[in-house]
Symmetry: C2
Subunit: 97 residues, 2 copies
Amino acid sequence: MRDPKLTDAAVQAALALRAGWSLKDGMISRTFVFADFVAAMRFVNAVADAAEAADHHPDMDIRYNKVTLALTTHDSGGLTEKDFALAAQADTLVTVD
Amino acid sequence: MRDPKLTDAAVQAALALRAGWSLKDGMISRTFVFADFVAAMRFVNAVADAAEAADHHPDMDIRYNKVTLALTTHDSGGLTEKDFALAAQADTLVTVD
């Protein structure tokens, strides 16, 4: 079953809870900055594990020590709870050791 | 010491040896397609290890099972031998186990 697409109001409410994330072209994205490439890759792998477990995969752009995640739910044609759940999880993974 | 920027002729000669790579906006790039996200991430990590060892880091864009690498040498203001060396190495890492 497809996840229901969130209403604009629900998107705004969910976005208000996620500092650093912004909405553009039907996706939410955030750029995370790390000390170096190795720290950035550690984060990428932590997000990848979470993504695979959730079967929901963000776009990930790696620029040396910067990682941009972008999320949408293609099957639903827009943003769903799954996007905000994975965004919240990514936010907890910033300081992985 | 900065790596010397390659001449246009040298870039074209090096590019001719790298099937799948193309030149755009002073960078060389290639999109690699894998069976799934896990295989794509395995490649990303193999490239990351090679990049860290060479101290030369490609831009990496992950789209589920597709990974696009883009290379240039910012310090030299263009393409250098380092870019083509890492591109060649990435090509050997496609079928990592």
